[in-house]
Amino acid sequence: MASVARLLPTPEAHDLLELTEELAEKELAPKVDDYEARGEFPREIIRTLGRSGLMGLPYPEEYGGSAQPYEVYLQVLEILAARWVAVAEAISVHTLACYPLAYHGSQEQQRRWLPDMLGGELLGAYCLSEPAGGSDAANLTTRAVKDRERYFINGTKAWITHAGVADFYNVFCRTGGPGPKGISCLLAPDHTAGLHVQNRERTMGLKASPVAQIAFDDAVVDADRLIGQEGEGFRIAMGALDAGRLGIAACAVGLAQGALNYATIYARERTQFGKPIIDFQGLGFMLADAATQISAARALTLHAARLRDAGKPYSIEAAKAKLFASDMAMRVTTDMVQVLGGAGYVADHPVERYFREAKVLQIVEGTNQIQRLVISRALAKDE
């Protein structure tokens, strides 16, 4: 298999990717089929990745992170996603869930919770979407009312990845008036009284990753678990999502790479009319186009990451990367099913799973229509 040519900023990044390859090879590849078939969340595997330092890569060393640039963190995600996108997505969601505390928490809050979060002992979830609206986050309706030193939360959050397996939930809720300025972020532990995980969604793909609604029925959260100030929640959520979009883009690149790798080996070995099917131009060119699209998506994703690492505005580039990479992954995984023909349509080969998994990447962390909205609005305002 043609290996991916990578430009890495440091020798330590090289070592990190080598470690990631080893973990992907030994811990993910042999287990993915079984866990996905049974729909079981691989908590122990996530813990192993955490102990190896993969659950807090872009965060400061002071609190147990590894202080890696996004450029490197995203390539780690990509390598994991090429073997098991649910695990890569779990790390992306967890990294997103650590964002509010790591960037907006007080030192006291960070000291208390961040080391266990970044070490992967505590797994995170991110509760922004609601049944009535995922994309229209500024108008969310889950309400938190402060009574002395406690908040009482009422409402329902939807599409929560890690529902029921997370140890902490970032809950974005309305503490003030309507609109984005009335929203705050609370860090609720899993044992919060009044926090009820609803029935698991029967998803098309990523079956190892539990998704459910979470109902808050007078859920009690201590006031010292407010992250940032009251009213800052929307700004925190959007900042986290910009970074989260890059994570999804990297998952899409890895997933497509995994699909291409599998289909390429198949096309080299499968013979028809006396020669390997990769030697038929119709198929060979399909694989060539897939390889090219993957390289383009990787380059776009890492460009956005490098802007972020350099401290430059990167929201628009992140939106483009998420849009392009996830649309690309959908196309490539569709084509890789085609390369395998009938064999691609049955569960004996993983490409039908890749195809089902790609779809969700066009939807999460802002649908691709929202990404286009973000990009077109920026074009309209551009001077």
Binding site: E12, D15, L16, L23, S52
Partner: protein, 260 residues
Amino acid sequence: MKIVVLVKQVPDSGAERNLRAEDNTVDRASANNVINEMDEYALEEALRIQEAHGGSTVTVLTMGPERATESIRKALSMGPDGAVHVLDDALSGTDALGTSKVLAAALKRLEPDLVLCGAESTDARGQVLPHMLAERLGVAALTGARKLTVDGSQLTIERQTEEGYEVVTAATPAIVSVWDTINEPRYPSFKGIMAAKKKPVETLTLADLGVSADEAGWAGALTTVASHAKRPPRSAGVKVTDDGEGGTKLVEFLVSEKFV
């Protein structure tokens, strides 16, 4: 407790391995060289003892060519404190007896309470080194452990046998060899990999150890490989047709192959 773990670099047993035509030794240059798998279990056991008993140190001891440095760094990334690398051009061609002489000299310098090693290496598979070292050092050999318990200076192992296990005890100093049933080795962490780059690796030559060059290498070898040939391709299996005696024939086959 001062623990030394013997770590050998071997060609990856998962890939094709060859002997060199010119001298019948393992072709290490073209192989993917890795830590002998069983040694990782010994290392894990050492680290667990260190975690359970405060004030312990774990040192990796390797004898091998320059490229064994990669395996030493890999071992250090799992968590040991430091390493000793016996490195000398004159070591090429050393047999098991010579290896035990060199490693015993290194261990005398290190004065460990406990030496841990894999029960065998995946290249030579001799299983003799722990016994040779114990003899040279005058310490107890607890070999083939599937479990090790440390209680002060008292060591107890469950020695794995074909039928079950035997309980064997000895006081430190001792050498313990382990099988892959003893634990599940940890992965290195990213921080461990970074830290390993800064850990001390002492390089010792034969002269440093007071071993003369003619006691090691080709000159000191009592055994050499005279010739070698590729393993023949697998022959066709035995086909049993069931004409009423099929069950009996299957059982006879399983017995003859010692499966039952």
